[in-house]
Amino acid sequence: GAGVSQTPSNKVTEKGKYVELRCDPISGHTALYWYRQSLGQGPEFLIYFQGTGAADDSGLPNDRFFAVRPEGSVSTLKIQRTERGDSAVYLCASSPEGPANYGYTFGSGTRLTVV
């Protein structure tokens, strides 16, 4: 597609439930990133994929968070046993390779609200 697509745009879930957030990057972009943006904060790194593999998952806050990119294109961020503190905007970005020369192209984000 022309840009990075994230679905759903909004998600409200109850505490303790499982959620999946989807990212469809720009076609041909091998690098894919997930960030989380809380109110009043800048984007915080969660995980980076190069192709199908997670090259850096050091930003995942705990083992309730997991992400996959099985075919090197679409990625899914999965959050188990959601907590109210997980409420944030989850951003996906892609890049032709790493960000050094291109920066990122961001999607519009998924606003997750845990009630």
Binding site: V4, A31, Y33, Y35, G40, Q41, G42, P43, E44, F45, Y48, Q50, A55, D56, G59, L91, A93, G98, P99, A100, N101, G103, Y104, T105, F106, G107, S108, G109
Partner: protein, 112 residues
């Protein structure tokens, strides 16, 4: 750990005023530097970037930024702001660890 500081959290200006938003990063070495903008209701968009060469970088919509290596700074400037520049501005730094580190952002409000 690498960090990026944006000192001004909120800035309010009148149209035609000059703008300068500060950005400092925690330590040196080779860096690539970026400014992103998020207009109300829209996604983050790249405003400008610095990789090497002339430390004064020009971006879209009349914005520019100056890289001062000795001060670990990459401040964003615009000589005359417009109401349409109302947005949140994020500085980001790439240190070569395959990810960008973002500052906390500066929310700019331009009154007509």
């Amino acid at each position: 750990a690498q960090s990026v500081s944006q000192h001004n959290h909120h800035v309010i200006l009148s149209e035609a005023a000059s703008l300068e938003l500060g950005c400092n990063y925690s330590y040196g070495g080779t860096v690539n530097l970026f400014w992103y903008v998020q207009y109300p209701g829209q996604h983050l968009q790249l405003l400008l970037k610095y990789f090497s060469g002339d430390p004064l970088v020009k971006g879209i919509k009349g914005f520019e930024a100056e890289f001062i290596k000795s001060k670990f700074s990459f401040n964003l400037r615009k000589p005359s702001v417009q109401w349409s520049d109302t947005a949140e501005y994020f500085c980001a730094v790439y240190w070569g660890f395959q990810k960008l580190v973002f500052g906390t952002g500066t929310r700019l409000l331009v009154s007509p």
